[in-house]
């Protein structure tokens, strides 16, 4: 499979649906075809080359490298299911929506609904690993079904909402805009959310914290080791929890098989 490097030439005035940018979509294209690929911009479509310089890349594994502030580009790495999708800069909403495998790395901040469903689908990412070195917006990991979502920075409310399974690790804070603690894991059925101290949690939906230790933290710690330079706070979070952790089970309104791991209160 080919590898590509896309460098942003100019920042668009409107939001761009960039789901066409992907290893699988580009697999059978020539470099000219990639340059002429159409991006959706509202009711219009524009050529990819209008915003990006495109180059071939040589790499050990199939890779797309995108450079620039892509805050206005949504649906990047949508449906990604193999290889590496790396962004040097911020990204817009719906990063890695419907992703099924491979790796997505963002060296910057991400918008809302990272790893969520494609459009109005019912299931979010179903495999692979997403690493955000900065912050993430609202409802990160919404309806996530499998895979890993590591956010080195802070997350806005709604992380892990309606999560089906998988693992979300938050290196920074879970930001709360009201008195609901940021609605962490609201409606989650299964899966694990690893985070810092929760400012509040709905006690009707989650159990009280129970001290716990599990042997899977060992393999988790090992898996984060190669990523440490990108997400040191995630690595630190795992290391802290390997000593001791408190576990809340929930959402009790939806089976109560999900869990939130937090550091125990001193």
């Amino acid at each position: 499979m080919k590898s590509w490097k896309l460098s942003l030439r100019q920042t668009p005035h409107q939001r761009i649906d960039a789901r066409v940018i992907g290893l699988q979509a580009f697999a059978k294209m020539t470099i000219d075809q990639v340059r002429h690929a159409r991006l959706s911009a509202g009711h219009k479509s524009v050529e990819l080359a209008e915003y990006f310089n495109v180059e071939d890349l040589t790499s050990e594994q199939p890779t797309i490298m995108v450079e620039g502030d892509l805050s206005r580009f949504d649906h990047l790495a949508s449906g990604h299911h193999g290889g590496r999708f790396e962004v040097q800069g911020n990204v817009g909403h719906d990063l890695a929506s419907g992703m099924a495998g491979g790796e997505v790395i963002v060296h910057g901040d991400a918008g809302d609904r990272v790893g969520g469903p494609v459009d109005h689908g019912r299931v979010g990412m179903s495999g692979g690993k997403v690493v955000i070195t900065g912050d993430a917006g609202r409802r990160a990991g919404i309806r996530m079904r499998r895979g890993d979502l590591w956010i080195n920075g802070d997350v806005m409310p709604g992380v892990g909402a309606w999560m089906i399974a998988g693992t979300i690790v938050i290196g920074g804070r879970t930001v709360a805009t009201g008195d609901d603690g940021g609605r962490v894991g609201f409606g989650m059925r299964r899966g694990t959310i690893v985070c810092g101290e929760l400012s509040a949690i709905d006690r009707r939906r989650f159990t009280t914290p129970v001290p716990m230790w599990t042997a899977v933290i060992g393999p988790m710690l090992r898996s984060v080791e190669p990523w440490k330079p990108h997400c040191p706070r995630v690595a630190k979070r795992f290391a802290r929890l390997s000593e001791s952790l408190d576990c809340l089970r929930g959402d009790l309104a939806d089976g109560g098989m999900g869990e939130i791991w937090i550091p125990p209160k001193d």
Partner: protein, 320 residues
């Protein structure tokens, strides 16, 4: 050939292919790991009736285990893949799942022999049902683990284990003028072998007194006493016991490959001879069936003179 006054017969040990796997058992401390392994490897001496030949290969420091706790590596050998897939979940379910603080992982990852991941040995795939719906699956770096709630917290195990073609039945026989001397020699040999990677000596203390031959006069048995080495049957024409010998014990070695068994045989024989050569151990020989039972042959003289070709060469014969 003589080593420290002990005659080494010019013969060979005959070993055969087996299906094998390797597990890593971890626990809160070495004591609990040891208790789990005692149970896991119990009644695991011979495939003649135990299902698997299973023993601890080596103990592991916390930095050598997947979960950073003390552990042990366990090797298990079975006559068939079907038996291996039956025995491992049964034993882990009754002996490790039940043991406080423990967890089980696949230990085949760093083996030097080809490991098969197709049709793997089930572990959590079977044991998870003990969780009665409360079990949680977690996939980390493409490896699937099961977390089963138990009364001390969680039992964690891998979904399945890889398997490989191992070798069983490596052996050598120690002949001496008393049981006490031969038992000491056995102990010296198995203690020397215990530190070696890739091998186990699954019998009690690493040795068996009931060395067997294939077949029996009784139809129901497919193995029976090896009368050729029974001191009280020295009058039989097939006896291989000399006048000086009053006790024989057999050290049995299973290993991940031919090189491991060859090395263990050499180390074990040298240790026994050096310890008891002047005390009444006077002969070391090996068990074979004329080369018809197994394709792996370990010629004692060649192993001990260091003239053996690499076991990786095309021949299956460790001496040729």
């Amino acid at each position: 050939m003589q080593i420290n006054g002990v005659t080494i017969d010019d013969t060979f040990a005959e070993a055969f292919d087996m299906k094998a796997t390797r597990l890593v058992v971890t626990g809160q401390d070495p004591w609990w790991v040891s208790r789990a392994c005692d149970a896991l490897t119990g009644f695991g001496t011979s495939v003649i009736a135990c299902g698997v030949e299973i023993d601890v290969e080596q103990t592991l420091a916390p930095d050598q285990t997947p979960d950073g706790r003390p552990g042990a590596m366990v090797l298990a050998f079975a006559a068939s893949g079907t038996e291996l897939r039956k025995q491992i979940p049964t034993r882990c379910g009754q002996c490790v799942l039940t043991c406080p603080t423990t967890a089980v992982f696949d230990g085949t990852g760093d083996l030097s022999v080809p490991v098969h991941r197709d049709d793997p040995v089930p572990l959590g795939k079977t044991l998870r049902f003990f969780g009665d719906g409360h079990q949680i699956s977690k996939t980390i770096d493409a490896v699937r683990y099961w977390r089963i709630p138990v009364m001390d917290g969680e039992f964690v195990c891998q979904h399945d284990l890889g398997w490989f073609s191992g070798i069983g039945g490596g052996n050598f026989l120690l002949c001496g003028d008393s049981v006490a001397v031969v038992a000491d020699a056995c102990r010296a040999a198995t203690e020397a072998i215990a530190s070696l990677p890739g091998v186990i000596t699954p019998f009690p203390g690493g040795a068996t007194r009931s060395g067997s031959k294939v077949g029996s006069k009784y139809d129901a048995l497919f193995a029976s006493t090896n009368e050729a080495f029974c001191p009280t049957l020295r009058h039989l024409p097939q006896s291989q016991i000399d006048d000086q010998t009053h006790a024989v014990l057999e050290v049995v070695i299973d290993g991940v490959d031919q090189a491991s068994i060859a090395n263990a045989t050499r180390v074990g024989i040298l240790a026994a001879a050096m310890k008891c050569g002047s005390q009444g151990l006077h002969r070391i020989t090996a068990g074979n069936y004329g080369g018809k039972l197994g394709k792996h042959h370990f010629h004692l003289h060649a192993l001990l003179s260091g003239s053996a070709e690499s076991p990786d060469s095309s021949t299956e014969d460790a001496s040729s």
